[in-house]
């Protein structure tokens, strides 16, 4: 024990006299390890604490405080009591001793076993003996942290202190200037308010001492290490000011005053604070300030200079109105809501009727903001405003005025929609139903397209008001929509009509089924009149009508019940197109498939919808495609459009979307049906079953006929988009059949689809030996074909290889590297070199039909970056080693890869590859030019230093390319040149004259698009370095 006290003594000696700060740590360690207690340390400190030198005393206290910082958790209650008494006493000491004393006290407040009453006495002495604002920054922080700590643990005791505590705090924070400390002080104030401390007569003082910082004006110094933002301070202060209704009488006048400020941020802050505070208030708190608040908010919205202030003002008005609507009225008080709404109506209503409609928007916005606050407010306002708006509409004759009024009406309906609660109130607009319907229908019958568009959106809003429109209204509306759909040529109108029909179909499926769909069907199946001598324009308009009908059918099909009615129509179109009963162009057939796809994408995933697609649509599609394929083989007449590649490619997404998102239980069934159809020729599930038995769809067809073999793409659609939980039946047999087909078939669509299908299955096949051996086997076969230059199926083998590589790249399979090496070696191949270079673009881009996330493929994040970082060096190496005539392949591969990388990565990676890319710009291939330019362009926005160093070379090459024979290259190079003008002026100015001269030529280019780009670029370069320019 004696040895220990000497240890303590020596530590004290070294710390106090020797000024060795590290000894505090050793002392703390000593206490922690139990070598000596804190009280023994105090004894050891004895002489330094009683020294006549204040600095020595301060040093002594500092040691004790630092020890406490480490081991406040281990003190007994007795020790704490003694230490507090000691520290309280020391507060009266010389001012240099105060900082360590405060530090010690702060550490003691963290103790969990603070004796009762000690917190209060500690605070009393601090408030009594210390003038906080004359302390240094860190000591002030100490005091605030003390308060925060005690408030956490000793709430009851502090509340016993009554308003004295509030007063003490107000005094100590009064005049605080440092943002770090302010954050702490605001936190204390917020705790005071939110935890129900008694503010007593110091409410106003507390408000004053915090509100003097409002609105916060603070911009952090550059490189601020503390990272305090203005927003943090604003939020902290707002939490204080808006915390209690007791501040209302002080805060509201302050806000009115600050709203008058010229500083934008002050206005914004005031409006946001207003919106926040009234959520706590009742009407009696705001009653006397209503006029002032309204005037201020109105001014901000009417004379707005920024959208943020306007929307903040409107939000504040909504909050204020809903505060007034919330309050319970007593019998003797006046109804402050109606008083307030009266202000608004008197000031705004007449603007809605002014002849020039100049202030109509701000007024309408204000009214709508109030309207959206509560049902009561919306009743009062609509009752006052709607009649005059409707009357206005009927009196005006100018279309633009009518449109404006209609838009205002629409916003009103929309704003009421926001506030209507779930209770079955009847709609606010019930009284105006008839008048509203009549103006909407009259607007729909006008010839002005923007009026029609607005009317459709009003109609949508009206329909969304629960219980407003009658069935007869909807029927009439559907009639109008159908008429517009069939006659209106304007694309914007038909888009709006289609959207509106979609919205109506959501709400009234039965009416859409009975009214709209039969009309559309009839319209689609009428042949264009006098087909033989029919003029081109008439045929064209008939096509456009069909197109609109198809998109309308897709748009209304969201509810499963509607889907059950609309899909048969679309399937009927496909059937008629196939049989030739009604002539549909290939375009129309493709659009029909797109509509089916859209329905599959948007329909609610219910059992009903799933059955519709899996049991009706997909079998129908397969059956029709099969019929067309069989017929294509035999007949010599006009081929069915369903054998066209575009049509089949449009059918694939219908199948894959329904397999990937509708009803996983039914998906398995569809998949096994598709597999057994293709492997075993099982046609039992197809409708119109008149197919020959024992078809071998995946085997080599007789005479290499492609019309059946290409159907493999439909198989791909179903088996490659299954959720991973669904297993593909007979997968091994399927895989080998696909491999065989992709390596032997000579029809591009067939072998590519087979390869894609194979890859899609490989991508999802579980990791393991069977997968590895499968890949090995395929690789051996592919390589043997590729390595024999005389082989007739090298292209096929290459296609299979590139798709398998993609499948493996996406899932980070280790065998991928062997495939990449093969791919790189092919860049030197005489025949396949260019194809290999293009293959890189396929590897790096998202495929639309297989191997994407929508198909539940195994796609790891950032696979592109990974591929790039692993292979860019190889590519550069290969480029340097390659013979001159093979170099373009490497450049093309490189630009294909870089092109698909995310922009951020491009910008960082580009400098290393810049010389290669510049080389690419001067090689003769136009595709390389284009893809390189598209890599360069985003980088030019923020040019790296390397690029600026190579500016001369870059400009030379770009200027050479503006005479390229390919128009897209000319356009891309011109837009790069335009971007160059934003480089640092001193770097590009020397080139100005030369660039301007060179740009004179493309001004007379034969293509308008090129000229447009040239004008843009030349304009920018003219402004460069010119007064008033840049």
């Amino acid at each position: 024990m004696a040895a220990d006290s000497t240890l303590a003594l020596s530590l004290v000696e070294e710390f106090v006299s020797g000024l060795q700060d590290s000894k505090a740590k050793d002392a703390a360690k000593g206490v922690k390890d139990g070598k000596f207690t804190v009280l023994q340390l105090v004894e050891a400190l004895g002489s330094s604490l009683t020294s006549s030198q204040p600095h020595t005393r301060a040093r002594g206290v500092l040691l004790l405080s630092e020890v406490l910082q480490e081991c406040y958790g281990e003190l007994t209650e007795r020790e704490v009591e003694v230490l507090i008494a000691f520290y309280e006493n020391r507060l009266k000491d010389h001012y240099v001793v105060t900082p360590p004393v405060l530090k010690g006290l702060k550490e003691l407040t963290k103790c969990t076993n603070l004796p009762p009453g000690s917190a209060v006495s500690m605070l009393r002495s601090v408030f009594q003996d210390i003038h906080v604002q004359s302390l240094m920054l860190s000591e002030r922080a100490c005091v605030y942290s003390m308060l925060i700590n005690i408030m956490e643990t000793r709430e009851a005791e502090l509340k016993g202190l009554g308003a004295d505590f509030v007063f003490g705090f107000v005094q100590s924070m009064d005049g605080e200037r440092d943002p770090r400390n302010l954050l702490l002080a605001f936190q204390i104030a917020k705790n005071l308010i939110h935890r129900g401390y008694d503010l007593g007569k110091f409410t106003e003082e507390l408000f004053e001492v915090t509100s003097c910082y409002f609105p916060i004006d603070f911009s952090p110094p550059p490189n601020d290490p503390h990272g305090i933002t203005r927003e943090e301070l604003v939020q902290a202060l707002r939490a204080v000011l808006t915390g209690t209704p007791k501040f209302a009488e002080f805060l509201l006048p302050l806000l009115i005053e600050k709203l008058d400020s010229d500083v934008q941020s002050a206005k914004l802050d005031s409006l946001q604070t207003l919106a926040a505070c009234v959520s706590q208030y009742e009407h009696k708190h705001v009653a006397e300030f209503l006029q002032g608040l309204w005037t201020a908010v109105r001014r901000e919205v009417f004379q707005t200079s920024s959208e943020r202030i306007e929307s903040a003002g409107l939000a504040a008005l909504t909050a204020l109105t809903s505060c007034l609507s919330r309050s319970v009225l007593s019998s003797d008080s006046e109804d402050s809501l109606s008083t307030f709404l009266d202000f608004i109506l008197t000031d705004c209503k007449h603007h809605l009727c002014e002849p020039d409609l100049k202030l109509v928007w701000p007024s309408a916005k204000l009214l709508q903001a109030a309207c959206s606050a509560s049902t009561r407010a919306s009743h009062i306002i609509t009752a006052a405003v709607m009649p005059s708006l409707l009357e206005q509409y009927n009196n005006r004759t100018q279309c633009s005025h009518r449109r404006t009024l209609l838009e205002v009406v629409q916003r009103f309906i929309h704003s009421v929609k926001n506030c209507q609660s779930s209770d079955n109130d009847e709609s606010v607009f019930l009284a105006f139903r008839e008048a509203l319907c009549s103006i909407v229908f009259s607007a729909l019958s006008e010839s002005n397209s923007s009026l029609q568009i607005t009317a459709t959106s009003v109609l949508t809003s009206l329909a969304q008001q629960a219980g407003l429109l009658l069935e007869s209204d909807i029927e009439l509306a559907l009639d109008h929509l159908t008429r517009l759909l069939l006659t209106e040529e304007d694309d914007r109108v038909s888009l709006a009509v289609v959207q509106c029909a979609g919205a109506l179909a959501q709400l009234h499926p039965a009416l859409v089924i009975s009214k709209l769909i039969p009309r559309l069907k009839k319209e689609m199946f009428t042949e264009p009149m006098n087909q033989d001598q029919g003029e081109a324009s008439e045929l064209h308009s008939h096509h456009a009508v069909r197109q609109r009908c198809l998109s309308a059918l897709a748009a209304v099909s969201i509810q499963p019940s509607v889907v059950q009615e609309s899909t048969p129509v679309l399937l009927e179109v496909l059937r008629s197109a196939h049989t030739g009963d009604v002539s549909f162009s290939v375009d129309e057939v493709v659009l029909t498939c797109r509509s089916l796809q859209r329905i599959a994408e948007q329909v609610q995933d219910t059992e009903e919808a799933g059955r519709c697609f899996h049991n009706v649509v997909i079998p129908r599609l397969l059956s029709l495609a099969l019929q067309a394929g069989l017929q294509g083989e035999g007949s010599s007449g006009a081929p069915s459009p369903l054998v066209e590649e575009v049509v089949l490619s449009a059918m694939v997404p219908v199948i894959s979307t329904s397999c990937s998102r509708l009803q996983p239980t039914l998906v398995g069934q569809t998949a096994s049906r598709a597999v057994s159809l293709f492997l075993d020729g099982d046609v039992s599930f197809l409708p119109d079953n008149s197919f020959p038995s024992h078809m071998q769809l995946l085997k080599k067809q007789e005479g290499d006929s492609w019309s059946l073999s290409q159907l493999v793409c439909l198989l791909m659609g179903s088996v490659c988009s299954l959720p991973r939980s669904v297993e593909v039946p007979q997968i091994d047999k399927l895989l080998s059949a696909l491999e065989e087909m992709s390596c032997t078939c000579s029809h591009p669509l067939s072998y590519t689809s087979a390869a894609k299908c194979f890859a899609g299955l490989v991508n999802k096949k579980p990791q393991g030996d069977s997968l590895d051996s499968l890949i090995q086997r395929t690789m051996t076969r592919v390589c043997s074909e590729l390595d024999s230059p005389s082989s007739s199926v090298r292209t096929q083998a290459f296609t299979l290889m590139i798709w398998v590589s993609k499948a493996l790249l996406l899932r980070y399979h280790p065998l991928f590297t062997t495939l990449t090496d093969k791919l790189f070696s092919l860049l030197d191949d005489a025949g396949l070199g260019p194809m290999a270079a293009d293959g890189f673009s396929l590897l790096m881009s998202d495929s639309t039909d297989v191997l994407n996330r929508a198909c539940h493929a195994d796609v790891r994040i950032m696979y592109r970056q990974r591929f790039f970082s692993e292979n860019s060096a190889k590519l550069v190496q290969g480029f340097n080693a390659a013979p001159q005539e093979k170099k373009p392949n490497y450049l093309k591969a490189l630009s294909n890869i870089v092109n698909k990388l995310p922009k951020q990565v491009q910008v960082t990676e580009l400098p290393a590859l810049l010389s290669l890319l510049l080389e690419a710009l001067s090689c003769p291939d136009q595709d390389i030019h284009l893809s390189t330019l598209s890599c360069l362009e985003p980088v030019l926005v923020n040019p790296p230093q390397v690029l600026i160093q190579q500016l001369e070379a870059l400009i030379n090459r770009l200027l050479a390319l503006i005479c390229s024979p390919a128009m897209s290259v000319r356009i891309a190079s011109l837009s790069c040149i335009s971007a160059l003008s934003y480089f640092p002026v001193h770097e590009v100015l020397p080139f100005r004259a030369r660039v301007l001269r060179a740009l004179a030529k493309p001004l007379d280019d034969k293509k308008r698009l090129v000229r447009r780009e040239a004008v843009q670029a030349r304009g920018e370069w003219f402004l460069l370095g010119s007064p008033g320019g840049r």
């Binding site: 390919a966 010119s1026 008033g1028």
Partner: protein
């Protein structure tokens, strides 16, 4: 414009902007020659900023497509512009901006003629004469402060 000078026409009527030109299939066809037409010239000048207002000449209806005449074969362009008010002191400046924009944007084979729509400005003749005089246009562009205003009119607005 220094602060505090009163705008001559403080509250002009604003017209709707026409949309971007619809791109046609023949414009994307490499082999077709697209002649320079009225709309193309109009597209060049419609986005020029007004010297006084943060609006384009099109929005103020100073330039209209039907007042643009171009003959690609004979290499002539004629543009008539309409000042918002008959005493507009900015007429010369607007005309100069249009002229400069066309000079910068058209091949030099074109003869460019910019003038005021007949009967819409008090000193129509004087302005037309100034704008037609090559020497005076060149001299005006030597003047740095004039060039500065013209360049500001021709800068693409950053909104």
């Amino acid at each position: 414009m220094s602060e505090g000078t009163r705008l001559e026409n403080a509250n002009p009527v604003i017209f709707q902007r026409s949309g971007d030109r619809v791109q046609t299939a023949s414009e994307e066809d490499e082999d077709v020659h697209d002649p320079i037409d009225d709309r193309e010239i109009f597209d060049l000048i419609r986005s020029i900023n007004d010297p006084e207002h943060p609006l384009s000449l099109e929005e103020l209806n100073v330039v209209e497509q039907l007042r643009v005449k171009v003959n690609d074969a004979e290499s002539t362009v004629g543009v008539e512009f309409t000042p918002t008010i008959p005493h507009c002191s900015m007429a010369t400046l607007i005309g100069l901006s249009i002229k400069v924009k066309l000079l910068r944007s058209l091949p030099d084979r074109f003869k460019i003629d910019v003038c005021i729509t007949p009967g819409t400005h008090a000193s129509e003749e004087a302005v037309n004469k100034q704008l037609a005089d090559k020497e005076r246009v060149a001299a005006a562009l030597e003047n740095a402060s004039l060039l500065e205003v013209v360049n500001q009119c021709l800068s693409t607005r950053s909104i």
